[in-house]
Every structure is written in C-alpha cells, then in structure tokens.
Symmetry: C2
Subunit: 139 residues, 2 copies
DNA sequence: TATGCAACTGCAATCCCTTGCATCTATGAT
DNA sequence: ATCATAGATGCAAGGGATTGCAGTTGCATA
C-alpha cells in the first residue's frame, strides 16, 4: 500500500516536479472506485481547477505509467482506462457477446511469463490486461 | 490455405455483398508480405481506384475481422496492423527498449487458454497478440 | 432484362489521443 | 529572498479511427 505522499516524493527523487495539476490528477486516480478514463479524470480535476488541459491529464498518466504507479487497460470500448497500482495487479476477461467483465488474479499469467522467459529470454510486462472472448453463459 | 475466391463466396453466403472496393481491399491484405496498416491498404487501393474512401477500408477490415479472415494487432506504434489468416496464427513479443519484434508460435498460449477455460469457463479469442516487455539482449 | 430494396459507399463531422511550441513555474543555487 | 533554468503547462493543430447520413449499387426476384 503506497501512500500518495510517497508517490509524490518518488516523483521528486527522479527529477520530476510536483505541480498542482499532478497532485489533482493523481488524487483522482487514487480515489477512483473503479477503472477511470482520462476524460473522467479531466472532468473531476476541472471541478477544482477549470484551467487544466486534457493534454496535461494524458501526459501525467503517461508519466505515472512509466513510473509504474498506474496501469492502463483497453477494454475495447474505444477509450483506455487507468487504475492505481495501490489496488493491486490483476487482469480481466471481456465477453464480446454480453459485454460482461470477469476479474482475474495476476497469477493466471505466471506460467506464460515463465515460458516466455525460458523460451525467448523475454521479460514480459503484463501488468493489467484485458483478454477478449466468450464467457461461460454465452457459449 | 483459403483462396480469395472462397473468401468472396463466404461473404455472399452470409448476406454480405461483393463490391469492387472489398475485392481490392481483400487483395491488398492477402498479397501483403508483412503486417499492413489501413493507411497502406488505402494507398494501394487508391492506385487502382482513387475514389475509394479510408472509412470504407476501415469498415471492410472490421468485417473481415468479424468473419475471422483477417487478424488485427497493435504493435504499440500508434497504428493497428492487419494480417491475412491465410498466413497462419501467431503472436509477437515487442521489446520496449530496442523496438525489436520476435515472432511466436500460436501454441505458446495454449496452456493459458486451457486454464481460462477450466477456471472461468471462458473461451479466449487470442488470435494475434503483441506482448510488450524487454528482450534478452536488453535486459 | 427491368425492378426494388437492403447493403454499401463517400463525405464530413466527430472522437480519442498526441505533439510542437511558446509561455510559465517549481525547485535548487546563490 | 531572488535568480536561473530545466521541466511542465496550455493551446492549437494534427493523426488514426469511427459514425451519421444521404445517395449509390449489388443482387434477388419476377
Ligand atoms: Zn483492472
Ligand atoms: Zn458473455
Ligand atoms: Zn503477426
Ligand atoms: Zn530489446
């Protein structure tokens, strides 16, 4: 469990600045109950500070992703969603028929990651994936 | 190995029409040596028939995808690429440091697909995936 | 061969996201 | 406290892809 304060000092430690915009954007992701889109973050931040620009939101999310503080997932609905790493690594199964989403443990990818490492020497970066297909009740 | 003629009759069988645009777009994908982007297909088709519209290219690719005649993959460079199913199912490892791309056999995903089926009753639709990470020589 | 109509296309607007650039500001040094 | 500067922001333009709609066309039927 990483605290927001720790995250901010992690930014400084790496030469990045702490700005009001970054604090508000980070806050929006950290306090979101669910996976949140850039547009939703933008709307939330605008309530406090209407001058913020959507490109700042995207650039901040890109930075948080690089620092592995936030993960990104494409659920296939035309907009990417973000999630604080505080809430743990996991993955999703997305049914293409009913649209239902099943949550998965991170461990489901462990055998795959191991075989990629063994066969190809490749260290796969599988943080937060959505796998598409057909769920039990739609088959 | 599916022939182009067979693909066209598969279209008619499902109530879709055969149009000059669809023939040319399908041809471009079938004859491409490598994974080809919508823009590249558009350029090729324009040589023969300059009136074609890029949205028709996207709509045709979407249709071919649904019919499982073409697969789509995001290599992370901001544009999606397409591949004829004639050339077989496979996957890719994309190194985020050197940009190198390693080709993988389809079978690497078999254990994962099986465990998804067993644990969740979920039939995963993993046709042509790009996994991001760090390759052997960049680690 | 001519007709009817659902399927398809082109066009323009729009959506999500990225990028270049001029301006501004957080931060460390003085 | 002030300054210098590299990092960050806002703005506007642009890129890839999608969508609504009016007009066109493939094709089944007669
Ligand atoms: Zn998630
Ligand atoms: Zn379902
Ligand atoms: Zn491929
Ligand atoms: Zn590499």
């Amino acid at each position: 469990m990483v605290k927001t304060g720790e995250i901010l000092s992690k930014l400084t430690a790496q030469g990045y600045r702490i700005t009001p915009q970054r604090i508000m954007i980070l806050d929006a992701v950290e306090n979101a109950d669910d996976h949140i889109s850039a547009e939703e973050i933008f709307t939330l931040v605008c309530l406090q500070y209407p001058n913020v620009n959507i490109s700042t939101v995207y650039r901040t999310l890109e930075l948080l992703k690089q620092l592995e503080l936030v993960t990104e997932t494409d659920f296939g609905d035309g907009r990417v969603r973000y999630h604080s790493i505080k809430k743990g690594h996991h993955h999703h199964l997305v049914c293409q028929k009913c649209g239902g989403i099943i949550d998965m443990e991170e461990s489901i990818f462990t055998p795959l990651r191991e075989s990629l490492l063994k066969q190809y020497g490749f260290d796969a970066d599988i943080h937060h994936l959505a796998i598409f297909g057909t769920c039990k009740k739609c088959r």
